[in-house]
């Protein structure tokens, strides 16, 4: 029992001793042992160091009673205890010494950066007594501007994932960090001079510190080599730049300056890490208000339908191989000197597009897609130069990557060397190459020939299984690091919580190997101190400021001037049989997020598929192949097809996707995992097993054979709603019509609310002079990215229910994004106009759900909220039946406890308990739930305002969905305040009410969708 005054134990020793005690323990057992440990003096002192946020783990385990009970108790309480009866006697445990700036019950926010595919997105993390519970965007960060996306939101779940690898293991046997470092140092020492045979494999590295550490390794072992492979990175852009300018420069687009945008198969609204910023900038030019005179126009050429194409004013679905030809034709049209092989326009609209782009010199931009060959990128660069875009809508900057190399080449080289037994020690820092490497490289068996292979990763995945050593990697919320955003801006990644398990960051591992094992904080801090111009005193201030702001000023990538882009010779179009297209999954990307239940269940933006990927193809193609009938072409059937490509075969369920390019099949990567957690293992089919290194993005020569197998895919849109069933859930106009009509109201009689109601609302409510909450959703800038869905899930403790339950129509999302197609003709079927419509609870003033509740569990508040009281609900489901919007969700089982079949990502698991928002009740079995307009945030703001004797300011309350929205499509506020943004939007002629004719008087209203088609290409009439 060490006494208070022995002070010569440094914090690290303490950590080390604890870690040693915990070494080799897993999962729940580990938790218990921590609980036992929590009281021990060294641990006590250890958690009371200068960073209060780091004491969180201990509090979570012992201190924070109230918040904890909110979670543990509520399920019991909701299991039918009315009032305060029969609650178990419980302990209330204070601190021994309270951390300085921590007020129990009051959340604290810390700035840090989320790491997505190696790039940073600035975030603010809400922490309750040291438990990170919610991620918000950092308004000061260029890649975020206060918003985030589904991926960033979901990284919170990753942190608490109980299936993360929790320790060091050798050949699957539990080991210790010490054992690893000992063996590693021995191995390194045993290498021939210069570290011959030492290899490091990483993904994209933008972290200055990590880059420095790696180069230090390379300095120490000159013969060692560093390889990089990031499957979902923008390889072609790099190659394209090299082709066009002879050096790897990076293009950054400024869509807020662009009046005309042409994407060549580019999903700039959906592709991380720049999607959040691009979406915001794009939306800025697209909002249409009364009197608006301009609106940007988006042309999209794409093969796999994506949210970018869905937003386009003109969209053409083409085989990926045909797009270069289009690019050349348009390039020619806007005056790029093409030399001899100028391609002739193959489509009537090409010239119109070219003219339109050219007409907006300096205000138009062409964006090449990640999936397009370098040539297309080079062409795009050339077009942008010709359009005078460079400097306005496009900037060329130094690459943000520490060392921009051709990843695929780098990987191939590594594999070759491994086969030739030239690799003695391989250090894989992050990533899962065994799974993500193209099939033809057969990475796994090459790796098997490496005597000393180490894998540092968050999961015990395919690579971990193949390597000699597996090291648990820390989540970015538990380890110090730094990272650069897509535009180069650097941020310090500061942890909010002690590592939940015995894990370490890449920094700590490298430092350990370099024989100088210091904690991550010091590694990162030292690196920046070294680079800091000025005295240490000022550094400390700067450092504190960086941590506080979440960005390091002046670190954005430097602009570079580029010569005129060389236009490469056309690549011959090979089109035998069908094309196969490999695309990162919209939610799982390359598989990095595969074990994240939130993202697994989250319906894909267009297919609305959950828990599976599929072979996507166009209706016409399915009909031609006899896989579907013309009448039912758009209804998902359970066919399984066998895909044969370059001698490899893969069976995949078929999903018919309107708008998919003809004669090609899309497979989303990231699925069909064999290891790496129960959430991802065995879900979907592995597209990598068809991918080859010579054509990683798409290739021709695919054969498709129907099989007798059937497989049930689950899509949350039971109805693919190809037309709107004679209904008008979404109203839209063309921008031109709207202007010419003099901004006439969009909603006709049929859609608008009757002025009369049968009953008089009690004056106490009708004439209430306090706040009146309302919401407005601008469909014109909603890109259907799902960020709001996940944000809501994180904020409101919404459980995951699993594929089986989703297939029964029991998903729990409080806000859903409806996807509608317009048009019924076959042409429409091949390329429909797509609409997205987020639907939360409408908070009707004359709510149909309320009068039918027998126990008054759902009633109206004076502020106009449709209150749902879980603890009063008996679960008759009558309210849901009577809700015309079907936004109510019911706990058919105790979903919060993972029932019926241990659905992951729920709230009674010890780790997930830490994640839950203590201000929102965790719902038990048999109760109804629904969107509350984030009433916990409203109440918090109201209390704060009252204490300061003021009224709540406009914008002070942000609902979770509003806060996360990259395009700021959602506005919330007090509609009694005429000056409030939401009130202004409700005055817009574009305002309409969903199912207004039912006279439910919703507080949530919409702004109509506008489309801005090019009159030269064929004028469309909007739905009348």
């Amino acid at each position: 029992m060490s006494s208070k005054n022995d002070t010569n134990i440094t914090q690290r020793d303490v950590l080390q001793r604890l870690k040693d005690r915990l070494a080799g323990r897993k999962g729940p057992e580990y938790w218990r042992s921590l609980e036992e440990l929590a009281g021990s003096p060294e641990f006590q002192r250890f958690v009371e160091d200068e960073f209060p946020n780091r004491s969180s783990l201990l509090e979570a385990m012992k201190m924070d009673r109230r918040s904890f009970l909110t979670l543990m108790g509520s399920s019991i309480a909701l299991a039918g205890l009315a009032g305060c009866r029969f609650l178990p006697a419980e302990k209330i445990v204070p601190y021994v010494q309270a951390p300085e700036d921590l007020i129990p019950g009051v959340p604290v926010y810390y700035a840090t950066a989320a790491v997505i595919l190696g790039y940073g997105v600035g975030i603010l993390v809400e922490s309750h007594e040291g438990r990170p519970t919610k991620i918000e965007g950092n308004p000061g960060h260029p890649a975020s501007l206060g918003s985030t996306d589904a991926l960033v939101q979901a990284t919170l779940l990753d942190l608490y994932d109980p299936e993360r690898s929790q320790n060091v293991s050798k050949k699957g046997q539990a080991a210790t960090w010490d054992a690893f470092f000992a063996e590693a140092r021995k191995t390194l020492a045993s290498l021939p001079a210069g570290g011959e045979g030492l290899r490091i494999l990483t993904g994209t590295v933008t972290s200055p510190t990590l880059a420095a550490q790696i180069s230090e390794v390379l300095r120490k072992y000159p013969a060692a080599r560093w390889h990089q492979y990031e499957p979902a990175a923008d390889h072609n852009a790099r190659a394209g730049a090299v082709a066009a300018f002879g050096k790897p420069v990076q293009a950054i687009y400024h869509l807020d300056k662009a009046a005309r945008v042409l994407t060549l198969d580019a999903d700039f609204l959906g592709q991380p890490p720049s999607n959040i910023r691009y979406a915001r900038d794009f939306a800025e030019r697209r909002r249409v208000r009364r009197g608006a005179t301009e609106m940007n126009r988006l042309y999209a050429v794409e093969s796999t339908p994506g949210i970018t194409g869905a937003m386009a004013d003109h969209r053409w679905a083409l085989r990926p191989g045909e797009i270069e030809a289009i690019a050349r034709a348009i390039a020619a049209g806007i005056g790029v000197r093409m030399g001899a092989d100028a391609h002739q326009a193959t489509y009537p609209w090409v010239d119109a597009v070219a003219r339109d782009l050219a007409a907006h010199h300096g205000a138009s931009v062409v964006i090449p897609g990640a999936g397009q060959p370098p040539a297309v990128h080079a062409l795009a660069y050339a077009m942008n130069q010709a359009l005078g875009a460079v400097g306005s809508t496009v900037r060329f900057v130094e690459p943000v990557e520490a060392t921009p190399v051709d990843h695929l080449a780098s990987l191939k080289e590594l594999v070759a060397d491994m086969r030739a037994h030239r690799v003695r020690a391989l250090l894989i820092l992050g990533g899962n190459p065994v799974y993500t490497a193209p099939a033809d490289l057969e990475f796994a068996d090459a790796l098997a020939s490496v005597p000393f292979s180490v894998h540092l990763g968050r999961y015990d995945d395919e690579t971990a299984a193949t390597c000699l050593w597996h090291l648990a990697e820390s989540h970015y919320l538990e380890a110090w690091s730094d990272v650069r955003a897509f535009d180069g801006t650097a941020s310090i990644v500061q942890p909010l919580i002690q590592p939940l398990y015995s894990s370490r960051s890449a920094h700590e591992v490298l430092a350990g190997l370099l024989g100088d094992p210091i904690p991550g904080l010091e590694i990162v801090k030292n690196h920046w101190r070294a680079g800091f111009a000025g005295p240490d005193a000022r550094f400390e201030d700067a450092w504190r400021k960086w941590l506080n702001d979440g960005v390091i000023p002046g670190t954005a990538a430097k602009p570079v001037t580029v010569p005129d882009a060389k236009v490469p010779a056309p690549t011959p179009v090979v089109a035998d049989g069908y094309d196969v297209i490999f695309r990162p999954d919209p939610n799982l990307v390359d598989g990095t997020f595969a074990n994240n239940a939130w993202l697994m269940e989250l319906p894909r933006p267009l297919t609305k598929l959950t828990w599976d990927n599929a072979a996507l193809m166009s209706p016409a193609m399915a009909v031609r192949l006899g896989l579907a009938t013309r009448e039912k072409a758009y209804v998902a059937n359970n066919q399984v097809v066998e895909l044969s490509y370059k001698g490899r075969k893969l069976k995949a369920p078929l999903f018919i996707l309107p708008g998919h390019a003809d004669n090609c099949v899309t497979l989303h990567l990231g699925w069909g995992r064999t290891r790496g957690g129960s959430v991802c293992a065995g879900k979907g089919v592995n597209a990598y097993s068809l991918q080859t290194s010579d054509a990683p993005d798409y290739g021709s020569g695919l054969q498709i054979a129907p099989t007798q197998d059937r497989y049930e895919l689950v899509s949350t849109h039971y109805h693919s709603a190809i037309d709107m069933e004679g209904r008008h859930p979404v109203l839209w106009r063309t921008f031109d019509e709207y202007q010419r009509s003099g901004y006439a109201p969009v909603a006709g009689d049929e859609e608008s609310t009757p002025s009369e109601s049968m009953f008089r609302t009690p004056p106490e409510y009708a004439n209430y002079d306090g706040y009146a909450w309302g919401m407005s959703i601008d469909l014109n800038v909603c890109i259907g990215c799902n960020a709001c869905v996940v944000a809501c899930q994180a904020e409101n403790n919404i459980p995951v229910v699993g594929k089986d339950q989703v297939s029964r129509g029991r998903e729990m999302y409080w806000i859903r994004i409806d996807r509608y197609y317009q048009g019924t003709t076959e042409a429409d079927l091949e390329n429909p106009v797509t609409f997205f419509e987020p639907v939360p609870c409408m908070q009707c003033e004359l709510a149909p759900c309320e009068p039918v509740c027998p126990v008054g569990a759902t009633t109206h508040s004076h502020e106009g909220l449709n209150q749902m009281v879980y603890n009063r609900c008996v679960g008759t489901r009558y309210c849901s039946n009577n809700c015309p919007y079907k936004v109510r969700r019911f706990n058919f089982y105790k979903f919060s406890a993972g029932q019926p079949n241990n659905a992951p990502g729920n709230y009674d698991n010890p780790t997930y308990k830490l994640m839950a928002n203590p201000n929102v009740t965790v719902r038990g079995r048999g109760v109804m739930e629904k969107c509350t307009y984030c009433v916990q945030r409203i109440n918090e703001a109201r209390i704060k305002a009252k204490e300061q004797n003021r009224t709540i300011r406009d914008g002070e309350i942000q609902t979770a969905c509003q806060q996360v929205c990259p395009t700021k499509a959602i506005t919330f506020g007090n509609i009694h305040d005429a000056g409030a943004e939401v009130s202004r939007q409700k005055q817009e002629p574009a305002k309409f009410v969903l199912l207004g004719d039912l006279n439910t008087r919703p507080r949530t209203t919409y702004l109509a969708k506008f489309r801005n088609p090019n009159p030269e290409i064929g004028t469309e009439k909007s739905l009348e």
Partner: protein
């Protein structure tokens, strides 16, 4: 045929018939009585604590302010339980080796926190915020009973919903000027406290006088309390 039943059967029959009707009624009434009784609510039942802490001694005799220990009561939903250090800030000087305080000293020595038994507990679907109630001049005793008189701490009021709703419907009787919230204990100690306030502090079944209600109405205006809203479900349940 002969008599099947003796004469007594007549009375028996009538009595049993009566019981059939009255019996269930009686059971229901007993049930509800038990629900409301201390047996269920644990009101007035001191719980066994590691240290026999006396609020009366510290508050009333020594006049220590509530906020000295319950630091976050004005800032947070959670009133806060004093860390060991707070106790020791005095008890490192006085009663330094009183056997009663051994657990406290041990806690400091070992770093093992004190484990108090929770006295006032709300169900987890009820979201009560101390700071706003204090801010609106609601004295601790309104909900916690005569704390300043408790030698051992016990639950002062049954936290039934009807109890909360009663005050949320007519707050006037319980509102006080902000500065008085903690001041009242000082006044009480000095003895220059109004009879009304004294009753409020001492009497668990305190019923506000008309005069107080009138004053309260003033405060409602001053604080801009929207009375109607106070009984909306989502004020307490989320």
């Amino acid at each position: 045929m002969a008599q099947v039943f003796p004469r007594s059967a007549n009375t028996l029959a009538r009595v049993s018939l009566f019981c059939v009707v009255a019996g269930p009624l009686a059971i229901l009434l007993t049930g509800s009585a038990i629900t409301r009784s201390g047996f269920n609510t644990k009101v007035d039942v001191p719980l066994d604590q590691p240290v026999p802490f006396s609020h009366e001694h510290h508050v009333n005799e020594l006049g220590i302010d509530c906020r000295y220990c319950h630091t976050s009561v004005t800032k947070s939903s959670f009133a806060g339980i004093p860390p060991t250090y707070t106790c020791m800030s005095c008890h490192s000087q006085i009663w330094t080796n009183s056997p009663l305080l051994k657990p406290v000293r041990d806690s400091l020595a070992t770093g093992e926190p004190l484990q108090w038994v929770r006295v006032n507990k709300l169900p987890d679907f009820v979201y009560f915020d101390h700071s706003i109630h204090i801010n609106r001049g609601i004295n601790c005793n309104v909900c916690h009973g005569p704390v300043h008189r408790m030698q051992l701490t016990y639950k002062g009021k049954p936290f039934f919903m009807s109890f909360c709703v009663n005050c949320h419907r007519n707050p006037e009787g319980y509102l006080r000027p902000r500065e008085d919230v903690f001041n009242l204990y000082v006044k009480y100690q000095r003895g220059d406290i109004s009879a009304e306030d004294r009753r409020m502090l001492d009497d668990p079944d305190y019923v506000p006088s008309p005069a107080q209600v009138a004053k309260g109405k003033q405060l409602v205006k001053e604080y801009g309390i929207k009375k109607a809203q106070l009984t909306d479900c989502w004020i307490c349940h989320r």
